[in-house]
C-alpha cells in the first residue's frame, strides 16, 4: 500500500498526517507539493488540514484549483481512495468531489475540542472496522456542513453520511453538534463511497498519549478494503 499526502501553501496538519500514515502505520508515504501533477502512484491520497492560503476567499477555495487537485480529481474519477480532513474536507467540497459546503460554525467561534462520532454506514472503505463510537478532536472555525435539501435527501438515501456527531453514548444531540452541521453531519462520502471528507482529525487520535487511538480505525478500514480489492 502506498499513500500520498498533498501539501498546500499554508497546510499546517500535513506533518501530523504524514506521521499518522508513515510512522504509526508504516505505510510508504510520499509528500506531493500542490504545484505537482504527478501523485506518485498512490493507493490513497490524503488532503491534510490547516488553513491553506490562510482561508482567504473561502476555506479550501484556492487549494481546490491547484494542479495537484486536478490530478486528485482524475485519481478519484478512476475510483481512487481519497481522504480529506478538516481543510482537506473543505477542499474536496470546493473542488466538487463532494457535495455541499462548510459554513462558519454556528457559534462563530473557533472550536478545539473532542467530539464523538458514529459511523452511519459500515459498508465503506473507511468504516468497516469502526465498531464503536469514536472520540476524535476537531479544530475548526468553518465546519458547519451545509447542502440544499435535495442534496441532503440524496446523501441520506444513498447512505453517504459517513459520520455524525453524537453524544458519548451515541445519541444524536444538538448539544454535541458543536458547529451546527446539518443533520449532525461530520463526514460525507462521494457517490462511489471512495472519497471521504470529514472535519474531525483522525491523525490527532492515533496514539494513547494523545488521549485517543480511535482515528486509527479509519485507516485500518482502508487497509482492509485495499487488501480485499487487491486479493
Amino acid at each position: 500500500m502506498r499513500a500520498t499526502v498533498i501539501e498546500f501553501l499554508g497546510s499546517n496538519c500535513d506533518h501530523d498526517m504524514v506521521y499518522f500514515i508513515r510512522d504509526v502505520f508504516k505505510i510508504e508515504t510520499e509528500v506531493v507539493w500542490f504545484t505537482e501533477r504527478d501523485l506518485k502512484n498512490p493507493d490513497i491520497v490524503l488532503l491534510p488540514g490547516g488553513f491553506s492560503y490562510g482561508d482567504y476567499l473561502r476555506p479550501g477555495a484556492m487549494a481546490s484549483r491547484t494542479p495537484a487537485m486536478e490530478s486528485v480529481r482524475e485519481f478519484a474519477k478512476r475510483g481512487g481512495i481519497v481522504l480529506g480532513v478538516c481543510n482537506g474536507f473543505q477542499i474536496l467540497c470546493e473542488s466538487g468531489l463532494l457535495p455541499g459546503a462548510l459554513l462558519r460554525n454556528k457559534t462563530i467561534s473557533f472550536i478545539c475540542d473532542d467530539v464523538y462520532l458514529k459511523a452511519e454506514n459500515r459498508e465503506t472503505p473507511f468504516t468497516s472496522m469502526v465498531d464503536r463510537i469514536l472520540k476524535i478532536p476537531i479544530a475548526h472555525g468553518d465546519g458547519n456542513y451545509f447542502c440544499d435539501e435535495k442534496t441532503l435527501e440524496v446523501l441520506e438515501k444513498e447512505k453517504r453520511v459517513a459520520f455524525r456527531y453524537v453524544s458519548p453514548d451515541g445519541k444524536i444531540d444538538d448539544n454535541w453538534n458543536f458547529n451546527g452541521a446539518t443533520n449532525s453531519i461530520a463526514g460525507v462520502l462521494s457517490e462511489n463511497k471512495r472519497v471521504l471528507g470529514m472535519m474531525p482529525h483522525p491523525e490527532r487520535a492515533c496514539e494513547k498519549i494523545l488521549g485517543s487511538e480511535d482515528g486509527k480505525l479509519i485507516i485500518e478500514s482502508v487497509i482492509s478494503f485495499l487488501e480485499k480489492t487487491d486479493g
Binding site: P99, A101, R104, T107, F146, D148
Partner: protein, 81 residues
C-alpha cells in the same frame, strides 16, 4: 475593463456573523435593526489584453473562483474601457 462584484450568502444559508453584528448594532441602541447579512465586495481592474464583454468575463471570474454556487449568489457591475 473595471468591475465591481458583490457576493451574498444565499437566503437559505444561515449567517451567524451577520446575526452577531445585528445584535451588536442593537446593543448600541439601534433598536430598529431587523437583520444584517454579511457579504463580499470585489473591485477588479484588468489590463487591455482582453477585449470581449466585460460583464461576461467578470461572471467567469465568479464561476471559476470568486463564488461558491452552493452557498453564494452574486451580482456584477462592469464597464469596458
Amino acid at each position: 475593463m473595471k468591475g465591481k462584484i458583490y457576493v451574498y450568502l444565499k437566503k437559505q444559508v444561515l449567517d451567524p456573523q451577520g446575526k452577531a453584528i445585528e445584535n451588536a448594532l442593537k446593543s448600541l441602541g439601534f433598536e430598529e435593526v431587523k437583520s444584517v447579512r454579511v457579504g463580499k465586495f470585489f473591485e477588479i481592474e484588468t489590463d487591455s489584453s482582453f477585449s470581449g464583454s466585460a460583464k461576461e468575463r467578470m461572471k467567469e471570474y465568479c464561476k471559476k473562483l470568486l463564488v461558491n454556487g452552493v452557498i453564494e449568489d452574486f451580482e456584477v457591475e462592469a464597464v469596458e474601457e
